[in-house]
């Protein structure tokens, strides 16, 4: 597809790998599309670590819902941004919040949502879709968010020359998983201990962990679902929320924190630990050892920010997608992507 050479550094590219295990994961996806609409980031790759075609179809539906307002990074000539899908892994089963929206019919008898994905062949190979998205980003201008088992991202790390691309393009990985400073094994880690161990041992750039101790300290209000989406006759996030529990209810969130911190690290929504090293024990428990030259940190909840966080979440998730202006071709011979210095670790 014809594309102008990018001569100004764009907003950070987000690579999202989600397990789609709970409604929180859908809200996190909506949050990222909301931030993309505000041009604070560009969601350049979405992959699903649940080996379930309907999960991929639902992710595609959400992406198409926001189409025109979000950033397909590479250019797919009329086809939507490919959704990466795990072909195996610990997560498989159907869950109502991503299957029921697919059955939503409008009054005219037509499906409320469309998707290009009909079979596995319409989804993308995980390693290629993530690596290819990285190749289209400016150096140091990508953040990877993992809301689920580390299965997919560990595969990316282990394949071919991907590690070189990660080193060059990724400034930060934010992982919703583990439990800090200690406690029983958390499910995302426990589901694939080997991949989690590889991730923390081999990932070449900084990692910030959003541990399960953050789970449930903030909830997404059901009242927002009932009141803030009147602008849309059908909304895949609203459908998912209603399918995930008996309304009215407030959904505990956790994955959303990973997304909000990744895009707005300096706005003080969360505190961040000093650097250290995360280790994953054989039974899936995680430990954090402070160390001045460690590449890992973990988020710390700040009760004083709770109200502000909820307000931010409801505003971003319920925001109406904004059409992006038509592309313009910038002047030639301006600064090259390689000339831009890699951003520093946001904490340093």
């Amino acid at each position: 597809m014809l594309q102008p050479r990018q001569t100004e550094k764009p907003s950070v590219g987000i690579v999202l790998d989600t397990g789609l295990s709970r409604i929180d994961d859908v809200l996190a996806m909506a949050l990222l599309y909301g931030l993309d609409g505000k041009k604070e980031e560009r969601l350049v790759s979405v992959s699903v670590s649940r080996a379930n075609l309907k999960a991929a179809i639902y992710s595609d539906v959400v992406g198409r819902f926001y189409a025109g307002a979000v950033s397909g990074a590479i250019g797919f000539g009329g086809r939507t941004l490919p959704v990466g899908l795990a072909d195996s892994g610990p997560l498989k089963e159907d869950l109502p919040f991503f299957t029921q929206p697919l059955t939503h019919m409008m009054l005219d008898g037509k499906p409320a949502y469309n998707s290009d994905i009909k079979t596995d062949l319409d989804t993308a190979e995980i390693v290629a879709v993530v690596r290819n998205a990285l190749t289209a980003q400016w150096d140091g201008n990508t953040i990877i968010i993992v809301n689920g088992p580390a299965t997919n991202i560990a595969r990316v790390l282990a394949t071919g020359n991907s590690k070189d691309w990660i080193q060059r393009k990724v400034s930060l990985l934010v992982f919703a998983g583990g439990r800090f400073p200690n406690g029983p094994a958390e499910e995302n880690v426990k589901a694939d201990v080997a991949s989690a161990r590889r991730l923390f041992a081999e990932w070449p750039t900084p990692i910030v962990v959003c541990g399960a101790e953050m789970d449930g300290l903030v909830s997404y209000p059901g009242s927002s679902i009932e009141n803030d989406f009147a602008w849309s006759t059908a909304h895949p996030v609203v459908d998912a929320y209603k399918a995930a529990g008996k309304m009215p209810y407030d959904a505990p969130v956790w994955a959303m924190h990973a997304g909000l911190y990744a895009v707005r690290p300096k706005e003080g929504y969360f505190k961040v630990s000093d650097p250290g090293t995360v280790s994953v024990l054989e039974d899936g428990r995680t430990t954090f050892t402070p160390s001045g030259n460690g590449k890992h940190r973990h988020l710390i909840f700040d009760p004083a920010q709770k109200e502000r966080i909820v307000k931010t979440y409801t505003e971003l998730v319920s925001a109406k997608p904004v059409e992006k202006p038509a592309r313009s071709f910038p002047p030639k011979n301006q600064q090259k992507p390689e000339d831009v210095k890699k951003p520093e670790d946001p904490k340093k």
Partner: protein, 458 residues
């Protein structure tokens, strides 16, 4: 030539002044010395056509066993059992990836290496020559050269690079990309392209000349007396015939006849070329007619494979972004201009006609490959001819779901007769890794590959 009472050596050449002619596989070469069975080589060729195809007329709507083929591929119907039609393979290095325009240069320049070529306009860091700054070119070693490096020593030519259109190697051919990217398919290293031979005469003399080329004196003498290259090897061929049975004599006669036919057609083209306007600059002896040029070049590739002169070929049918007109099929407009059809049905139809024309000429070549017997198989069976492009949709310049098909099974390595669609974004370098394996070259990674394509062999 050394002829003994033992089996003929596979690498027997008929020699004459300035001539060295390889031979096809003959029964007399089997079994070879020491009682071992002779190795039937696997050959590999990459055939690149420019600017993709009208994919609606290329992709079948089914997967699995090949049945009725879409419009463009209709001429391939006789080869359904001999081919693999692959879907969703991607050349990520062809995409802009922050580098703006230049899809055509990237499509070819990185097609067989899986890398994105570097633009020349803003980088001259590769040093200088003659005191002047020289624009850098940088792509990557190509799949054919990986194979040539490993098995090329077994044949007279480690690899053969054949082309049809444009020899320009410098200057800007596409949005700041060097012409080296649009006009070369094979790269020996990231900075060393291997320019294809466009002129049939030059290719002929490379194949049959001693030490690569006929000497100027031999060429002058031959032209003076209008002698055929076969005249120089008559003595050797007569000696050889005394050692051959009826079947081998017939095979040798067919082979020498095919060489002579190519030679005659080259001479005829040289004689009549000035009467044909190819619509583009051409070397002196190059046919203006696309089909005739294709036939000459492909016939020589067939001979090279038959005589085991090489096992690795790249064939650049047209430069990427070519604006060649095809008046012989009543398409006088430039190919490239037509591909930017903006959904105009008439322009789409003309592009489809060009695509069909390419496939018709390719199918005629495959028929020839299939007609040559090698033991229980055919020359086509013992080859893998990968036909494709680094662009899928020429209007949108897409580099995913590339038009890709393979003819031949690589000596039974590939299970042909099928349409296989991969998941989106699957790198085409995965295919190259698998083809390398068929050639006896084992690698775990190449270019942007994420693995092999085991379905091709299962």
């Amino acid at each position: 030539m050394t002829i003994t009472r033992k089996a003929l050596q596979r690498r027997t050449f008929l020699r004459g002044m300035g001539v060295a002619m390889g031979l096809p596989l003959l029964d007399a070469m089997v079994p070879a010395l020491y009682g071992k069975e002779i190795e039937t080589p696997v050959r590999m060729a990459y055939v690149y056509v420019p600017i993709g195809a009208i994919m609606d007329h290329w992709n079948p709507t089914y997967t699995g066993q090949l049945r009725e083929l879409p419009r463009i591929l209709k001429p391939m119907e006789p080869f359904r059992e001999n081919m693999l039609l692959l879907g969703n393979l991607t050349h990520n290095g062809g995409r802009a990836l922050l580098d703006g325009g230049g899809d055509h240069a990237r499509a070819t320049g990185g097609y067989l290496s899986g890398v994105q070529p570097r633009k020349i306009a803003e980088d001259s860091s590769y040093g200088d020559r003659n005191g002047k700054s020289v624009a850098a070119i940088k792509a990557g070693i190509t799949a054919d050269q990986i194979v040539a490096n490993q098995i090329g020593g077994k044949t007279r030519f480690a690899s053969l690079e054949v082309g049809m259109e444009d020899a320009q190697q410098s200057g800007n051919c596409d949005s700041g990309y060097s012409c080296s990217y649009t006009n070369n398919l094979a790269w020996k290293s990231e900075s060393q392209p291997l320019p294809p031979t466009l002129d049939p005469r030059a290719l002929f003399e490379r194949l049959f000349g001693d030490d690569g080329d006929l000497t100027p004196q031999a060429r002058d003498r031959r032209n003076l007396y209008r002698r055929s290259i076969l005249d120089y090897v008559t003595e050797d061929s007569k000696k050889l015939e005394t050692r051959l049975g009826p079947s081998d004599r017939s095979k040798l006669d067919q082979y020498l006849t095919s060489v002579r036919e190519v030679e005659v057609r080259i001479q005829q083209n040289e004689k009549h070329n000035q009467q044909v306007d190819p619509g583009m600059e051409k070397p002196g002896g190059t046919p203006g007619d696309f089909a005739e040029h294709f036939k000459l070049q492909s016939d020589m590739i067939t001979i090279a494979f038959q005589a085991d002169l090489t096992r690795t070929v790249t064939f650049l049918v047209g430069r990427e972004g070519s604006n060649r007109p095809y008046r012989e099929i009543n398409v006088p407009e430039g190919h490239h201009n037509l591909t930017h059809h903006r959904n105009n049905p008439e322009m789409i139809e003309k592009v489809a006609q060009i695509n069909c024309y390419h496939i018709r000429t390719f199918a005629a070549w495959m028929e020839k490959m299939k007609s040559h017997k090698e033991g229980d198989r055919t020359l086509l069976d013992n080859s893998m001819i990968c036909y494709g492009s680094g662009i899928a949709d020429g209007n949108k310049h897409t580099h995913e779901d590339l038009p890709t098909m393979i003819l031949g099974s690589g000596g039974g390595f590939l299970k042909t007769g099928r349409r296989i669609v991969y998941r989106r974004e699957t790198p085409i370098c995965n295919l190259y890794l698998t083809m390398m394996e068929a050639m006896g070259v084992q690698r775990e990674t190449f270019g942007d590959a994420t693995g092999h394509l085991p379905e091709l062999t299962a």
